[in-house]
Symmetry: D2
Subunit: 350 residues, 4 copies
């Protein structure tokens, strides 16, 4: 298995078992000279993912204080690998024996595959692993064009769909409610449902929507590293994600082509940009807003164990920064890739 | 851009512009000694993708005869890179000037990114590129366990959904109708709708469903090379695909956790396998059937140009073997990866 | 095995068995818009490697006409993978049985490893494989800064060492003699010795020296992709190469440090560039000339078979363009890598 | 820059600046279930590289206590990434200003390349970086066949060459003298010369020889991942290494082919294994002993600063475990690669 690195030019390698000593990330390929302040550029993102943010999430407490072991010096990156470690603290390992598998979890299949696992918790299959993605994404953001705006939010939980969104949609607007659903009325309904879930040991899935505004034209490398499959790859690697779509998949499959593509100007010198493309054509960003939907199944911890409070009845609120982090990693990686697309852009070109 | 290789252990590199001399594929990392016969193992798959198979698809004709340039000797693979080339023949290049962009196509964004493109056709952004994926998948299939069964079919076109499926679902059953929809009644409705589309210059999207039966337990490498994100990556790299999901995404997001996970046995030594997991837990195959849905938007060629007949009103029938090919590549690649998971499985282990 | 790709940003994938249908190369990651003319930019390099150039080399004849299958359109690269194929023509396959192994060749070990091989010739272990490297290098050259000068030559054959070199040393000066030794007197001695070798079925090894002038400062990525180990990797992957050194290895190991580093200015603001470094410090080019020595063993075909004339008594003259090609690939690849070293150099930087 | 990962199947990622908080390594792709004990399997190797081992080396003291952050549980590897961190303690950072460059060091070229560096020490260009390689190599060794024997030793320092070697040559025999030269008489001469060097602020280069005994047949993946170029790549990435050769390069270039290949049996069913091949044919191990020579230049710190005692007058004794570590990484990586060479060796093969 050599599967703990994400990215090509910007490479995030993560490590750590949920009940081991520490979680961590090494970011390689990060340019030199980029200003970085841990309290400004990293801690806020970790805090958005942290357990125990509200009554709607797990009651576990993790301070999640990052330690920068390398790659940053005097407030700027060195162009060398950046290692960030977060020690595990509130990891109450269960006492039960190694042959005990939690229902619906990866415990058994992990055991079958590897023959040996850290049975104190989910190990690498724990949601705690996403902490390392947020670290990587926090650095990746620093490479993005300043006017590029990346915002994820809870679009749907169970059957409740946010429809009335603030414009512009900002991270502050998203964070205004603990559900991270920016439609205040729907947010309240969702919050009520999640409180009930906690009481009843039930859980909920839903949809996180990611919007990318003002992405430059040209991100995405055909044919196997298109922007759309890079994003799908990134999102589907998150534990509970079961689907991903560019725009609304139901509309795309059911709308006749003439209607779906109706906004496109006719063939000719001015043709090309299609509003139906959700910002990506031929796998390449076309300058229009990009909308991605990420589908989460409900957490598998249900019943009596779920009632203990150390589990999230719905991980979507805490997954919002994870979705943003994965998107930032993809965008920054493709951004770096773009640097060598044309000869005249090379530093030593003729 | 260095994006024309797919896979890690088994690596498919594709090349070719739709209106250039040839399309081709190089497959590296393929084990030695595997029997291969071009007419048995490759041509049938190419024929399933070929244009001009029925009145429902484009009227273009491409014989698509593959030439094996390397890597196979006396009917068996050599362990060296396999190069397969298919010359382009029926490529009537359009006469119009380089500054003419087709509506809804990648022409313009490609021009903006690269500054130079093969304006005679879609180049690498043409659907013809998928021919190379079918070549790769044809070889990948030969590495899969014999009892593993991989079958894709048209589940939905527009609003018409196949519900009444043969059991077992076989490739022959799928190919029995030119729509590759194995529900005969729905297939006829779809066929009728597509004939109308051709007349009216309209187009249709839909859903291809992929079923993987009897996959071995243990395919998938956490955390960034899980089986589910590898499949999502593979599928979303196909031109017209706008979404992908493990199982039914709507059910996953709307069903309460207690119901969604109801089939899971309780915690304990016997727990673990969840039917709701659609065959993948912790990113690893659990031995249960895997169901993947792939969402296609309608082709962007609509209106007068679509009426000329050289375009598919719906690419799903011809995309079925492409979806299978990409799945085979993912499965074979993870299969090879699994070979070095445990020390005792190594050839020179102690 | 997935080992037929060289490079990271600029990726050369080669294929082909010496007695199969064709040899070929796919170059991915090559920027768009670079002017390319096959007769100007590729054929001359292939001709320098071709068999049958003079009485000193094999009498085999290969026209080695390259066919560009993709990636170039109207005289400029497309930014898509470039595939070049050269068909094998003068491949007289031997008649002997598969269990016959040539002494000193890779035949047996290849058989043991793969269990199946193309016994008509050396397969991938043939020197003919280097043709594909020359193809790759021909494209790579086009990415290098115009004033960078790359020249390889035969420094030593057997015990004869070229000492009296023209200044400046040009490719024309190297090609002036069929031995590619630019010291005319030594060249003649070598030529005489090689004629004798052909008569007696003997063979000779030697040293090719590579000089790189006016490389920009900054090529090389610490710590595992330094310029020096990238070059060593590239050269040692050539069949008959048994050693590689930056500058003169004997001087480096026997000269006391005080003398070896005597040309270095003292510590301080002006310090740093060391003439003893042979142009590479900390693995990074420092702007000074780079000298690399590549050590070749004598060909293993000796005795009666060598007298038949279809083997080179010394491969160094024909290996000169191969060494240059591998160097060009390394330099161009690191050049592309450098494009994303600093944030301000990114195309979409703030 | 994305250059801090070594290996393909077994991947070592290293991080850390010499005067930063810590050095570290992440090893990914390591199989599950391998027994590991830090005091038995890691600390001894680190101690062999540690500064301050004898009067011949630097007087710096580093305890170099490794902390295993992940990937090992209850004495066995988990198949997850293994992170090992060593905190820097005796890092007396110099006071001088950022514009001060040490003669012969990478300081200036690093500054030119990255525009920002950790001017307190060599950063990533420090020899301290090799500590992380030893960590990686210590794990890699655990994957090698038990009877494979890997031993490196000091063959030459300056003009003094070890000739009288113990048979068998063991690590204990090598470590019997602080020079790690196993020829006792020559070892004493070398020791005397190095003591003089310390007094006079001089330094010495030399040759480390690596012997690999009882490697299995079949390690090495043609054509760009041969065993020989993988080893060259690995060794030349070490700071002070300026050359590498398979066997004796001078003999290979000066000996006539008939003599060089004289030990090879004639063509035919029994032919193939050549003693002149130094254990590698066609880039693949042939079962014979492999001998690699690694050439080091003298350290560039000479003169008054060298007399302070915090620098090694000759790094070869401490580089011996580094050479072994890099070799172990290469061998283990190719071993893992071999696992998927033939279909019948796959875990889910038919």
């Amino acid at each position: 298995m050599t599967a703990n690195t994400f990215g090509r030019h910007l490479r995030l390698t993560t490590f750590g078992e949920s009940h081991g000593l520490a979680m961590g990330a090494v970011i390689d390929g990060f340019p030199a000279g980029v200003e970085f302040d841990v309290d400004r550029d990293l801690v806020p993102h970790l805090n958005r993912r942290r357990p125990g943010q509200s009554g709607l999430t797990t009651s576990r407490k993790e301070s999640d204080s990052p330690e920068i072991l390398s790659g940053v010096f005097e407030g700027r990156t060195l162009g060398t690998p950046i290692c960030v470690v977060v020690h595990n603290r509130d990891a109450r390992s269960r006492d039960y024996d190694p042959n005990y598998y939690r229902a619906g979890h990866a415990d058994r299949v992990w055991e079958e595959k590897f023959g040996h696992r850290d049975h104190r918790g989910g190990g690498r299959a724990s949601g705690r692993e996403t902490l390392c993605r947020v670290i990587g994404g926090s650095f990746a953001r620093l490479l993005l064009p300043e006017d590029l705006r990346l915002v994820a939010f809870v679009r749907q939980v169970g059957t409740h769909v946010a429809r009335d969104l603030p414009d512009p949609l900002t991270i502050d607007a998203v964070d205004a409610h603990p559900t991270r659903c920016p439609d205040p009325a729907v947010a309240e309904t969702i919050a009520e449902e999640l409180r009930l879930c906690k009481e009843e040991g039930d859980s909920r899935g839903g949809v996180i929507e990611l919007q990318i505004h003002d992405a430059p034209i040209g991100l995405g490398e055909p044919v196997f590293w298109k922007l759309k499959n890079a994003l799908a790859d990134a999102m589907m690697s998150i534990g509970a994600v079961v689907g991903v779509s560019l725009g609304d998949p139901v509309a795309a499959i059911t709308t006749p082509g003439k209607d779906f593509h109706s906004g496109v100007s006719g063939d000719g010198p001015d043709a090309g940009i299609s509003p139906a493309a959700s910002g990506i054509q031929g796998g390449i960003s076309n300058g229009e807003p990009i909308t991605l939907r990420v589908f989460f199944k409900p957490p598998s911890t249900v019943g009596s164990m779920a009632k203990e409070g150390r589990h999230d009845p719905c991980i979507l609120p805490r997954a919002v920064p994870v979705v943003e982090a994965m998107a930032a990693l993809v965008l920054a990686d493709l951004h770096l890739a773009t640097a060598s697309n044309r000869k005249f852009s090379l530093p030593f070109a003729n």
